[in-house]
């Protein structure tokens, strides 16, 4: 039910990234470019079709200052409701778990409970508090997460964590749905004369008109 980081990057090519010129330089690494971050991506059996990776994890070695922006759609998915609640009470986080295949939206209390159980299981494996774990989902609206498949995959996902570019690339592929390319980028810049790094990954191809707050 899982694949290595080098295998996952073969599924779809990386997107061209258009950065304007400025006092920064593009560097390899995506979400793992910054100090303290690790990532992993693998196939956990959540997708309805194919064997493209569908589970991603990003972790931080220390308590990271956290922020979030979320859809203002009234029909908000369970992970959105969960993360908003957590960020309202906590200023830091240590991990973000992401699944592709099921959006876990319009799934009611059962969907929310799935989020809590997924978070709780991952927190135990990572030896951190549940409120330090955030979660994102994407896929078909109205379907709950394939929780058993997800829970079975978590140990391997945690063991696959890596601070390498391959780890970041695997995670960037694992969060895609109808995307034809994976989206990942990192830059190095200076803040007050010290080198800092900013990295990121994203997914999206359709149902795209964000209005996040």
């Amino acid at each position: 039910i899982s694949m290595t980081a080098s295998e996952v990057s073969n599924h779809i090519p990386p997107a061209p990234i258009f950065l304007p010129q400025g006092p920064w330089k593009q560097i390899p690494g995506g979400v793992t470019a910054a100090e303290g971050f690790k990532a992993a991506g693998l196939y956990g059996g959540l997708r309805a079709k194919g064997d493209k990776p569908d589970l991603a994890l990003v972790t931080c070695d220390v308590d990271a200052t956290s922020a979030g922006a979320f859809t203002t759609n009234v029909v908000a998915a369970a992970p959105v409701l969960y993360c908003k609640t957590v960020l309202n009470t906590s200023k830091t986080a240590r991990a973000v778990l992401i699944n592709a295949g099921q959006a876990n939206a319009a799934t009611g209390d059962a969907g929310y409970q799935d989020v809590r159980e997924s978070v709780s299981s991952l927190a135990k494996l990572l030896q951190m508090k549940p409120e330090e774990v955030l979660i994102e989902s994407t896929g078909v609206i109205g379907q709950r997460i394939k929780k058993e498949a997800l829970l079975k995959s978590l140990p391997k996902l945690v063991n696959s964590l890596s601070a390498s570019t391959e780890g970041a690339d695997a995670a960037a592929v694992a969060i895609t749905t109808t995307d034809l390319v994976s989206k990942s980028v990192a830059i190095q810049s200076q803040v007050g004369g010290t080198d800092i790094r900013i990295g990121g990954m994203a997914k999206g191809s359709g149902m795209i008109h964000p209005n996040m707050a």
Partner: protein, 220 residues
């Protein structure tokens, strides 16, 4: 749905980080559109480890905050543009830049109105330099401006100035769109609405037959 995870090793206080992330989201992900549909799951999570040993940023108005904001903006815009570039069925990225508005939010709203227009998107796919659709989409954005100051360029080709259509080489303008589509490149639409300091950008993609095919076959 769009999802994003952003990481940095800069050291920043919670209040400042949360403000920076919302500002960057407003300048990037909230300025893209593919099909006008807002998802139930759109999420961006941003984490700052502080392990770079940079000076802790505690004031949003400090020079260090300005530097970090610029970096955050560029990373999120890079990712946001790649989402629009990868829009379902798209053959090109559309980058709309609006200048001359009274403020950045007003310019941004006009830019997104143009980028969101189904008729503008279909015209780009049809390689039709349709200045009328661009002007109309700017006009219904909900931002008041003097239409006699409206200026529209497609790439470097001036289509409209002083609120009036200009004589232009229609073949060259159509070729500009065609070439962008052939290489999955970028179509630049520049709109000026006055003399104000407000500048904003939005990104979208053209609307092809494939978009309908993909979404007619993908069920909820």
């Amino acid at each position: 749905t769009m999802l994003g995870v952003i990481t940095t090793d800069a050291m920043v206080s919670s209040d400042v980080w949360r403000k920076m992330v919302q500002v960057a989201v407003n300048r990037s992900f909230n300025q893209i559109t593919v099909d006008g549909d807002t998802s139930t799951n759109d999420t961006v999570i941003a984490l700052a480890s502080g392990l770079s040993r940079s000076t802790k940023i505690s004031s949003y108005n400090s020079n260090e905050a300005v530097q970090l904001q610029a970096g955050l903006d560029v990373v999120m815009q890079g990712l946001a543009k790649s989402i629009a570039w990868d829009g379902e069925g798209a053959t090109c990225l559309i980058e709309v830049t609006v200048t001359g508005a009274d403020s950045e939010p007003e310019a941004a709203k006009i830019a997104r109105s143009v980028a969101s227009s189904s008729l503008v998107k279909a015209a780009v796919y049809g390689r039709d330099p349709n200045w009328g659709r661009i002007a109309a989409a700017a006009g219904y954005a909900g931002i008041s401006f003097d239409q006699t100051k409206l200026r529209v360029l497609l790439g470097d080709i001036l289509l409209m100035d002083g609120g009036e259509p200009q004589l232009f080489d229609r073949g060259a303008a159509s070729d500009y769109l065609k070439k962008a589509g052939e290489i999955h490149g970028t179509v630049a639409i520049n709109v000026s609405v006055g003399d104000g300091p407000g500048r904003g950008q939005a990104w979208g993609c053209d609307l092809s037959y494939d978009y309908v095919k993909i979404n007619a076959e993908y069920t909820t």
